[in-house]
């Protein structure tokens, strides 16, 4: 099966600019996650979708970050305006369902964002 696709792979922007990331999950996967990973640390969940509904966005900085999942398939994550501390890798993951035990996460290769 095709894996989780993310684009772009790299992005360099100046602070206060906006940026968008795109994710195409594995076909048939109902649950989609966006994680932020600071270099060398564990991923931090930003938002979790079940189909096109939000399950958890408690750690999403909603004043600058937004995300949507179109028709329960593809998803975009936007940052506007970006800050220096947003420099990180943004990982998208998908799973068949919300129970990790029954349906493990499959990750994309991420987008590395550098804010200067």
């Amino acid at each position: 099966e095709a894996g989780v696709a993310q684009s772009p792979r790299y992005k360099i922007i100046e602070k206060r600019q906006s940026v968008a990331f795109w994710c195409n999950p594995i076909s048939g996967h109902a649950t989609l996650y966006w994680y932020q990973q600071i270099l060398g640390q564990g991923p931090k969940l930003l938002i979790q979708f079940q189909n096109n509904g939000v399950v958890d966005d408690s750690q999403l900085p909603k004043d600058r970050f937004s995300a949507e999942r179109l028709k329960g398939v593809d998803s975009t994550l936007k940052i506007q305006p970006a800050k220096l501390e947003d420099s990180a890798v943004y990982l998208c993951a998908s799973s068949l369902g919300p129970s990790i035990f029954r349906s493990p996460l499959h990750f994309g290769n991420g987008t590395r964002l550098t804010v200067t």
Binding site: V4, Y35, G40, Q41, G42, P43, K44, L45, Q48, V55, D56, L91, A93, P98, S99, I100, F101, P104, L105, F107, G108, N109, G110
Partner: protein
């Protein structure tokens, strides 16, 4: 707030040595997983443990889930340069609540 602390944070060893990575929490997890992440890639699942006291082996890797389901360990026997990477534990706590550990960066020198 549930937290998963991993230790050590960094580990650099020679090829052929053994090592153990720990994942600890004060909270109970219904299941726990271990992932390995290589530079420029997303984490890849290694194993899932569910039952307290469970031990799983994957070639030279041995995973154990604590009896109380609050901690886990990963033991690598005769480490090889190909084992180099970031090792992450991740646990399912509350309903559909899934958190990652702080990570252990392993470097195996040839």
């Amino acid at each position: 707030t549930q937290l998963l602390e991993q230790s050590p944070q960094f580990l650099s060893i020679q090829e052929g040595e053994n090592l153990t990575v720990y994942c600890n929490s004060s909270s109970v997890f219904s299941s726990l997983q271990w992932y390995r992440q290589e530079p420029g890639e997303g984490p890849v699942l290694l194993v899932t443990v569910v039952t307290g006291g469970e031990v799983k082996k994957l070639k030279r890797l041995t995973f154990q889930f604590g009896d109380a389901r609050k901690d886990s360990s990963l033991h690598i026997t005769a480490a090889q340069p190909g084992d180099t990477g970031l090792y992450l534990c991740a646990g399912e706590g509350g309903t559909y609540k899934y958190i990652f550990g702080t990570g252990t960066r392993l470097k195996v020198l040839a």
